[in-house]
């Protein structure tokens, strides 16, 4: 589903995708940068928020720096006819930050449900993964946890060049 955005919206995205100005009137600053009216900028951003083009506005915490050193990508082989219910249940757990249905590539990659699990260390992540396994029961046809060992690149999404 695409939201209709115009060239002016794209200019607003380009200057805000890295963050909002940390000044008392951030939207007026953006407007001044782009030669727009502050009310126009606020109306457009509110419309993008309402339509889902903006997911949310706020702080993006850095898990690693905040002491959550255990970040495991748990991957599950769940029967296709059970994926929706399983995904909704697992996605609602408070230690899961992302939960998606993704395609398998058998035989190398039999997994179709991805859930990012966060904890202070690996042991805490492992314990949470056991919790997910217990919830899935017989629907868990196999799972693994892929821990990251190195961040090779992290520039964040640049949606508009």
């Amino acid at each position: 589903m695409n939201t209709v955005i115009d060239a002016t919206d794209r200019r607003i995205i380009a200057v805000t995708q890295g963050g909002l100005p940390l000044t008392p009137r951030p939207y007026a600053i953006i407007a001044a940068q782009l030669g727009l009216d502050a009310n126009d900028v606020m109306t457009r951003m509110q419309r993008m928020l309402d339509s889902g083009a903006i997911r949310r506005i706020g702080a993006v915490p850095n898990h690693y720096a905040l002491g959550f050193k255990g970040n495991g990508m748990s991957v599950w082989n769940v029967p296709d006819d059970a994926i929706k219910e399983a995904g909704q249940t697992i996605g609602a757990l408070d230690f899961v930050s992302h939960c998606y249905h993704r395609p398998r590539h058998p035989p190398t990659w039999p997994y179709n449900l991805f859930a990012m699990v966060h904890g202070r260390d690996r042991a805490e992540v492992d314990e949470k993964v056991r919790h997910i396994a217990a919830i899935l029961g017989a629907k868990d046809r196999g799972h693994e946890v892929l821990f990251s060992t190195r961040i090779l690149k992290k520039t964040g999404l640049r949606i508009v060049g």
Partner: protein, 147 residues
């Protein structure tokens, strides 16, 4: 970082207002001044405890492409392949993970069509097969991150 910083991080992961003086509004609910809130956010960003403060855009709803993909890279060529993959500006994140598929990256492109082109270019450049796992359905995205 003190308990007030923790409160800011816990309460400000979404819902930042789109109004003339948004920091002043939020500061009021936190019972601090606008100036203190701005200074604390500046410090949290400078110290790297926050990676960003602002709007999080939904790439696909803006007509862009987004996917997750993995490679199996032999140990001896790992750093060279990492450099080749990272060289693509469309690669937003790239992580080494403990698995046969040991390199996982997120690709964000300005158009949806560009995803397949970049993945083909990455295969040609690295000589590694790309396992593309675009999302079929999203069940949850967000951070209910409590300090």
């Amino acid at each position: 970082m003190d308990t007030r910083d923790a409160t800011i991080i816990n309460q400000l992961q979404g819902g930042f207002p789109i109004t003339e003086r948004p920091y002043a509004e939020v500061a009021k609910t936190l019972e601090i001044t606008e100036k203190e809130l701005i200074e604390r956010l500046e410090n949290l960003l400078a110290e790297g405890l926050l990676s960003r403060f602002g709007p999080m855009y939904h790439a696909e709803r803006l007509g862009g492409g987004l996917t997750l993909a993995a490679l199996h890279v032999p140990d001896e060529g790992f750093d060279r392949v990492a450099e080749q993959v990272n060289h693509f500006p469309e690669v937003a994140h790239n992580y080494q993970r403990e698995h046969h598929l040991n390199m996982w990256f997120v690709l964000a492109t300005e158009t949806a069509e560009r995803i397949d082109e970049v993945l083909t270019e990455i295969e040609q450049k690295t000589g590694c097969r790309v396992y593309n796992v675009p999302k079929i359905e999203e069940f949850f995205v967000g951070l209910r991150f409590e300090l």
